[in-house]
Symmetry: C2
Subunit: 299 residues, 2 copies
């Protein structure tokens, strides 16, 4: 993030409905063994699309966020496309965020953490951690559900982004409920995030914690309050572009150093073009948004 | 559930650490092409274990709940083991519950719903829905995050179980917060579950909704209150056995007809034996718990 001099994070939410037609046509006429079933062919198209976009956009972004659902829906081939896309992004020195919003009780949270941040137990050994650098985590289970993730953050130098205030309209229904004592529910979550993120071995040299927060750009006032409550947390900020927020509305996500935020933009970049030059169009869109963000973070 | 005359649900949370040693040894000495890497071998052991347990236990349970994390940690081979286990359970006429606790904003929730309940879009067609009958869902995103799942419940006759009050000790931190107006957070979630579950096409002939609730057996008083708030919801009840609750503590989950609950038991059944007769031991444990539950539900 610091090296790349940008806060822009490429969001990969690939949907066949939006992927350029020529990529789908190529797989229709030219199926290989690797893509011999409907599910595999879909996963191949998703991977080819994502890899091309990542390669073109890499110079303009610090990180890539992969929406797990878009890969997972194709089962085993989808998970392979997910892994290969992570590997490609890591080769290009991008930070890799798995946007899975996982959360469960202790033993199951351990397995989710092993899947993305740690090392799953195999028959005679443990696997090496994957190329995923951070996972988005749902806080509803409380401390014992988050602890396994924190342990893998410490052990393997990984990170998590905890959902504090999401970008969607209905997020108000539960996340904005007022708790007896005048805090809102999402502020209570923020208190837990501050506590979790202050744990041993979780705060780095520059003062940022491995425990970040997801805060939607669609709520600029909430963002400003949360920035004060969570000075050490890196904010992962969705909502810019197709979801309606403008880059300028992310200003409050940055700290006084103009750092501490990753602004995720997905559809406005990955679907910037729908012809054969889609990857170049994506790169051009990313470059433009990067410039806009530079101005915003320096305010 | 009605046909099977039992409320027992087999929980499959397979962990290599707990799987009988001879199954691991068999894969050490006898690797096939299907299991030629560490990840694949682990997934093969997980599938072989789960399939044997499901086959032996099938006469004593109404449903199977697969903990996604335990499969997902092995990537693509793990997802294949998940699918094959679901298929085997469906062949044995068991209800199949994917315990993924998924939740996201609209577009991503659509993809999660397609993955488990609906039909993922492929290049020239949509896939048939999988053998999963129901998915556990995290409510934090509110109505727009749950709507895609509700649509697939209507279209494909599937169900969801929404997390209302989970079984783990830290669940109190956020789920029990008192909201201005004296309700607790989990009661607010219950109100939404009631609203979501009353939608068109979601209430069946017997009066039960496709939208159920996850309520931990470790909180019997909360369970009784939630039963009153959610008369139409089927409760999916974890927490019996290794987590500390006794079958008798699930009494409040049943409605006045002695129905409306699925009691999930995992570790006390699947690890009942650790020798070559582990599947028979699992069946014996399930049979015993089934009898205990029959007494409880008829009170």
């Amino acid at each position: 993030m610091l090296q790349k001099q940008t806060a822009l994070c490429l969001g990969l939410d690939p949907r066949l409905e939006n992927i350029p037609a020529h990529l789908l046509n190529a797989h229709r006429t030219n199926r290989s063994d690797r893509c011999d079933t409907d599910r595999r062919a879909a996963a191949c198209v998703v991977y080819d699309f994502c890899a091309a976009v990542v390669e073109a956009v890499a110079p303009h972004v610090a990180a890539v966020k992969l929406q797990m659902a878009c890969f997972e829906q194709y089962g085993a081939p989808g998970m392979r496309a997910f892994k290969f896309t992570c590997d490609r992004a890591a080769e290009l020195d991008l930070m890799v965020i798995a946007d899975g919003k996982r959360g469960d009780i202790g033993i199951s949270a351990e397995a989710y953490s092993a899947a993305y941040l740690g090392s799953p137990t195999c028959i005679d050994a443990s696997l090496e951690p994957s190329h995923v650098d951070a996972l988005t985590v749902n806080p509803l289970f409380g401390t014992d559900g988050v602890t396994p993730f924190l342990k893998d953050c410490q052990r393997h130098g990984k990170g998590i982004f905890v959902l504090v205030k999401t970008s969607n309209p209905s997020s108000a229904e539960l996340q904005d409920l007022i708790i007896a004592g005048n805090d809102s529910f999402h502020e209570q979550v923020a208190s837990l995030v501050a506590e979790w993120g202050a744990g041993e071995g979780l705060v780095g040299e520059k003062g940022y914690s491995s425990v970040g927060a997801v805060v939607g750009a669609t709520h600029p006032e909430t963002m400003a309050r949360l920035r004060k409550l969570l000075p050490r947390a890196i904010f992962l900020v969705p909502g810019v572009g197709a979801q309606g927020a403008k880059p300028a509305e992310t200003a409050a996500a940055f700290d006084s150093r103009g750092l501490g935020a990753l602004i995720t933009v997905s559809r406005s970049i990955i679907y910037a073009g729908d012809g054969r030059d889609y990857a170049m169009q994506a790169a051009a869109a990313a470059k433009r948004i990067k410039s806009e963000l530079r101005v915003v973070s320096q305010k």
